[in-house]
Symmetry: C2
Subunit: 399 residues, 2 copies
């Protein structure tokens, strides 16, 4: 049981620091029912979330399944700090009210994945807002400038002479201090957050917290193209608030390879279930499109509901069946005008004109992808794509 | 009058930034009686002050003569900040009480130079202690890391991989902010403080103070050797609490060249008075030693009193007259034993033995630097240094 939990927790991770600590926490949960805390930080801006953002939420949900309380940390502190110079136009000062409103919209989405009863939403301005300049200076004494400049983004900016405000050096320290204040057992974040995540571990040590947080880093999710990271600006994203039809259709559009990646990072299916699906596909027992539909249904149902997902699937089928025209359609020609029922028989699509008339009445016959309703229709000269039911096609040239 | 004041203020400065502002402040003082503020920062540690420290105080005193109120700023804020890591063993956390005690000892010395009635002692933890972490971050947003690393000492340490704590980046900002809070019109400091002094000017601008502080930088005072900076560890210093005799003697020990430097930076004499002395020495009308004695008297009287200074001079003369033996002393020889009075006549030091006897009676005759009291003394064989009064010497070899 612990092994399975650990496997699910490790699933899809880019890097884990102190997995041993995670093992011990799981053991204590399974053997003594002890819960533990997993911290994840979120911006108090209200972006339109896309699936890329939910990779982290999925992992948090997994932790909740195995005894974790989630510390859903809102980075509200920096958002409330003004820039006295007014230079930094990009940093909009948010009021606490703005932030709470943004976060409500955020959590409404997040709680489609997270268990609300096992989630504590905390705002770091509750403690950082009370911190004095003296405290901050004492905090800053724990890190050297050289070490700070090792951080990837700072290092790049420093080398290319892109300005770094000294205030920016404070943010990793504050994020780290959050872990001190919250006494987090585990923190999770993106791989791009490694420096800041380690800062929490380091500062917990400085502030005499006996056991430092384990760190779990999730990879960046690829977008629909399977190459670049999912992002709004690249247009390769599935938005959490996309309409069910869009959501379903976008999942179906990904490659088979990317599908397994999405299963790993986004599906609630267990690793064993996914492995079974993979086997079945490999052995030809299951069509990959069927598996992809299941994933699309799961994801669509998550952010809407099962019925909406099912409707989306049907709508998708309806629309896309249109274009399910085989490439090798038999071609016929005849003198016109010709009665539609006779034409269908001539083209070997119907056994008899009476059967043809019945099918027309039931809406089973299309010309150029439009349903035929008039059973007496005469085709004059021209070219026609005839269709009976879903699968029978013929091209007819009427002279 | 303004011109003279400006000359005295400019006197000895290493660098002045915005001298125009100083001119305007002086004009407003002389024409409208408007006072203005001059800030200088001091450490709340209680070092044994030496004359090097008083260069700044002398300049402040000059400003006070010309309408300034001195903001005697105690950097008490950082001294009260602890280092949570305990790494920084050199930084002793001082209590407010410690600081006040230290500063009392400091100002007791300083008020021998400064006019207490025109001095406001201010402690920066009074406002920095109330500053929040958020305020500090906003403050820090005004300066880039690159600019901070341009500071001489940071730059050197960064290049040679000597650790700089990120907290150290905060100190120049805080010192600058002091000028914002105090709305200082002028700040003075050592040349090594240029970066921090400019920070005050820059931040005043950011915080919308219409007229930024002028800056006046004083050079580092050379020690008794005239080469290296005056410092306790080099042993080339004159301590403010040195005994009058030491103080007087140390000043007399400096070179003539250094004497003029000390006049410029340490004397209350006006530039005109000093120029007159220089002329007189150049023209041979005044012995440089006499001028040096005046300087020694002035400095000793400043930290003790006139009487103590005068006593020190006399004591000095008494002791040092011993060694005032010319290099080119005439040598004589004679058969012994010989009567002292006759010996003095033979050596052409006395016109007659009766005069010699009178001088001996009055204590005006020395042998080997010891007074002779016995007018009947016979010199047996040996070598003797004979002296009559202060200036007459002879060497006598008695065979």
């Amino acid at each position: 049981m612990i092994d399975e939990a650990l496997r699910e927790i490790n699933r899809g991770c880019a890097e884990i620091i102190d997995n041993e600590r995670i093992e011990k926490l799981l053991k204590a949960y399974f053997q003594e029912g002890k819960t533990y805390t997993v911290k994840a930080g979120f911006d108090p801006t209200a972006p339109d979330l896309h699936l890329g953002h939910t990779v982290l939420l999925q992992k948090l949900a997994t932790f909740q399944k195995y005894g974790a309380r989630v510390q859903f940390l809102i980075g509200s502190f920096t958002a409330t700090i003004g820039d006295p110079t007014g230079k930094n136009a990009t940093r909009k000062v948010l009021s606490k009210e703005d932030i709470i409103k943004n976060i409500e919209s955020y959590t409404t989405q997040a709680f489609k994945i997270l268990d609300e009863s096992k989630t504590d939403i905390v705002y770091n301005d509750d403690w950082l807002g009370k911190m004095s300049a003296a405290d901050l200076i004492a905090l800053a004494s724990n890190l050297t400038v050289a070490r700070m400049l090792e951080r990837d983004d700072f290092s790049k900016r420093f080398k290319t002479n892109v300005a770094i405000a000294t205030s920016e050096f404070m943010y990793p320290l504050l994020q780290g201090y959050d872990s001190v204040y919250l006494k987090s057992d585990i923190e999770i974040g993106g791989t791009d957050q490694k420096f800041n995540l380690l800062m929490g571990r380091q500062l917990q040590k400085v502030y005499n917290i006996k056991k430092q947080q384990a760190i779990l880093m999730m990879p960046i999710l690829e977008g629909l193209d399977g190459v670049q990271k999912m992002s709004k600006s690249l247009g390769n994203y599935i938005g959490v608030s996309d309409e069910p039809n869009d959501m379903f259709g976008k999942v179906l559009s990904i490659s088979d390879e990317l599908m397994w990646r999405y299963f790993e990072l986004l599906s609630d299916k267990s690793l064993d279930e996914i492995a079974a699906l993979e086997r079945a596909v490999k052995e030809g027992k299951l069509h990959p499109k069927k598996v992809k539909e299941d994933l699309a249904l799961e994801i669509t149902a998550r952010f809407h509901d099962k019925e909406a997902a099912q409707n989306a699937k049907e709508e998708f089928d309806r629309i896309h069946s249109k274009s399910q025209i085989p490439n090798d359609i038999s071609e016929f020609s005849c003198e016109g005008p010709i009665w539609i029922a006779k034409a269908l028989v001539d083209c070997k699509m119907e056994p008899s004109t009476s059967q043809a008339r019945r099918d027309i009445k039931q809406g089973g016959v299309k010309i150029d992808q439009k349903k035929v309703s008039d059973e007496k229709l005469e085709l004059s000269s021209g070219e026609y794509l005839l269709q009976v039911g879903k699968r029978k096609f013929a091209k007819l040239k009427v002279k």
